[in-house]
Amino acid sequence: MRYEMVVGLETHVELSTNSKIFCSCGGHSAAKEPNDCVCPACCGMPGMLPVMNKRVVELAVTAGLMLNCEISRYTTFDKKNYYYPDLPCSYQITQLNHPICTNGCVTLKTTSGERDIHIKQIHMEEDAGKLVHVGKASYIDFNRTSVPLIEIVTQPDFRSAEEVLVYLNKLKTMFRSGGISECEEGAMRCDVNVSVRPEGSTEFGVRTEIKNMASFESIERAIRYEVQRHIDAIEFETEELVQETRRFDEASGKTFAMRNKETAADYRYFPDANLMPVIIDEEWLEEIKAKMPAAIDEKADYYREAGISEKEIDMLIHNHNAGELLDRVVALGCDAKGAAGWILTDCAGILRKNGKLLGDLELGAKDLAAIIKMVDDGRVNRMSGRKILTAVMETGVDPAAYCRENALDAQADRATVERVIDTVLNENAKALEDYRNGKVKAKQALFGACMKALKNTADTALIRELLDERLSQC
């Protein structure tokens, strides 16, 4: 018999906010030492009251809009009770009854065609702290407590491990481009619900849940293992399947049932009376929508039409700074393909030389557009353009002023260039001789000498054209 797997996902994503969800502590990424980013509130001391961070609501709504969800206009918080030393209040603030987003849908492009994955809900919640075990002692680091998370719960719509990976990568790309989450290692964690059934059946099989996996690779391995375990159990009666919570063991590649004690808890959810319901009115929703970046698929299609390569599209979508700069430079009238080259080759090269990454890019769109226009209009050559760009990026000078002060835009005319070429050829008899003997490299040396003599004041294309013409006569 052929079997079909039925998988649903609960994905926890850490939000990129400047402060925690209910207090003003910086996020744990700002922490250097354990318990660097803590205050009486996120340590569970009495007397402190949670105060809602508006930015968390905005990011959760943005995520919901990206996943085509209905946005709740009235959303409330609940307390989930359990005892663990890394949970300072002995309860977690989360959303049970009125989650912020519901009923979404995302379309995946997989090797077997397009698939719709339905989103049941997205809710906001706070993270817990971390236990550190040293020898026989245990220590608690509260830097992570109250760091804002969203949990995205899908319907059991996945039918292959590949679909799960496409979905997770899509979330990652979307959330990065939308400034929702950096999605670094550990900032995305998944619980996976797995069951199998005979192909064509509409009934659901026994469901198991694999908890808390942080890497995509583990998730894929765990699903493959668990699906096979279910099939074996049904087909060969190797064991009896029970609804339970399991964990994935990296080393053995197997899943194991968790102790009943860890899973049988009654969390006694109830409304948090310290937090008033959050009302999302039309005005606020419109404000959030206006700040949203274009949908990624739309954006990629737009880049593709402009003739930008797939590799560059990928870089632009993953680098929020670069993508945004390109959009703004294009809005100022520059050609998209050309501008993409400036950003991804020239800017990236200059950053690299200074030991930085594309993500560190801080360049005004107006400055870059001015430089691109100077080059496109033929006022300065490509090389001078790059020189100006370097100066602007390193010292923040004004491009036009820098160009003027360094006489980069004094364009040499055709006669001047011909005169300089003649002088260069006379002074470099050895190189000329080499060229005649078939050494192609020698031509590059002669070109370089011409550029130097002209001090970058001529169009490089013109130099090349006239040099080729002159050499063919020699």
Partner: protein, 396 residues
């Protein structure tokens, strides 16, 4: 017995109870579980008083987490025969001008009534709860004890007002705590069902107070209203559930008391909490945990939330015809010492007089040994009614 857990100043003008934080001073809410806990900040109400030049005299004794009748079950106080309440006692002896207390389940109103001083539990959300050792966020509120309504108005004028640190704080521009509104023409009702629950001496007090109000020009009449029993059950359920949740952070891991003997984390929790909480708090934790559990939630907690809405609506309906309700603050004219194993039931019975204001957020004023309840944000009516009686003179 000492009235203070920690005494700070002989020149102090205002005492605060041990559930309200003063920076650097042990705050234990009368419980062993918080022994040695020194807060890093002061309650907003304390900060506002200090900014206006009031000096805090010290931290007064309260019953563990304010759950008992009048403060009889504090870990830090000796047993007494006659139960009265520390803050109310200090005010009645004139040792301080006023005191702050947290009204979670009517204890300050009962204490004030027994000592013959005033205590105002203001409208929910008017005084910031920032810096209160919280049990039931949805109904607890800081209030003021004083010897007369003028002093209550003065202190409320300082501590009331919006605070961004408390998400439940109201955003009103200002509040009215005048004490001299005209009493003539005001309508007051006495609820028969509450009167019937009190002993003869208390009934006599309520009737005498009604007579004084009548003399001052108010119309006073008896009505029948069956809300209070149901409201009390609902509030006890909500309060126990919220308290169970809020005290669950006291686990011996981070601060306060920790058991000396434990072999693993579960024993650390169990031994610490067994030693740290008194019998009444344990009963509240068990009851609160039960009403939130699967299978019980809808019938207990869920239903109590609905009752809260219905009581608020029906009380508002009653208050269309009246400006205030005159009622006992407690069922007995005096409390004698009793066994803590009877406390859960005893407090439950006595709270029938005090629960509606905690459940629905309306203001209540203990005065002259009785209690006045009113409409939300209508404190000035209650203060003026009581003021007319106080100014006419003649003690009870």
């Amino acid at each position: 017995m000492s009235d203070y857990v920690v005494k700070l100043s002989d020149q102090g003008t205002v005492a605060v109870d041990d559930t309200i934080l003063v920076k650097g001073v042990q705050a234990a809410a009368g419980s062993r579980i918080l022994e040695g806990f020194r807060p890093l900040f002061s309650a907003e109400a304390v900060t506002r008083l200090e900014k206006k030049g009031y000096v805090v005299s010290g931290k007064t004794q309260v019953g563990e987490f304010g759950l008992d009748l009048v403060g009889e079950f504090s870990y830090y106080a000796d047993k007494e025969e006659e139960l009265t309440g520390a803050a109310a006692g200090l005010v009645s002896r004139g040792a301080v001008k006023a005191a702050l207390g947290v009204d979670l389940n009517g204890a300050p109103r009962r204490a004030a009534a027994l000592s013959g001083v005033d205590f105002l539990k203001p409208t929910y959300g008017t005084v910031s709860r920032y810096g209160v050792i919280s049990c039931a966020a949805s109904g607890e509120q800081i209030g003021v004890y004083a010897g007369n309504v003028e002093s209550i108005g003065e202190i409320m004028g300082v501590i009331a007002g919006h605070d961004g640190k408390d998400g439940t704080s109201l955003r009103e521009e200002s509040y009215d705590y005048r004490t001299d509104l005209a009493v003539r023409g005001k309508k007051v009702c006495i609820v028969r069902e509450l009167l019937d629950r009190a002993d003869g001496e208390v009934r006599g007090r309520v009737e005498a107070y009604g007579e004084k109000l009548r003399k001052n020009g108010a119309a006073v009449e008896e009505v029948s209203c069956d809300l209070f029993e149901t409201a009390n059950t609902a509030w006890q359920i909500l309060m126990d559930a919220e308290t169970c949740n809020n005290v669950s952070r006291y686990d011996g891991v981070k601060f306060g008391h920790r058991a000396a003997e434990y072999k693993n984390i579960d024993e650390l929790y169990v031994n610490t909490r067994t030693e740290g909480f008194n019998f009444l708090t344990k009963a509240v934790i068990l009851y609160g945990s039960d009403v939130l559990s699967k299978g019980r939630y809808e019938d207990c907690y869920g239903k109590s939330l609905k009752v809260r809405r219905v009581v608020a609506e029906r009380f508002a309906e009653l208050m269309k015809d009246y400006d205030a309700v005159l009622a006992p603050a407690c069922g007995k004219a005096a409390y004698k010492a009793y066994d803590i194993r009877d406390a859960f039931e005893t407090v439950f019975q006595e709270s029938v007089f005090t629960s509606v204001p905690n459940l629905t957020g309306i203001p209540a004023l203990a005065c002259g040994g009785v209690q006045l309840m009113g409409k939300a944000l209508n404190e000035s009516v209650l203060l003026s009614l009581a003021g007319s009686v106080e100014r006419a003179g003649g003690s009870l």
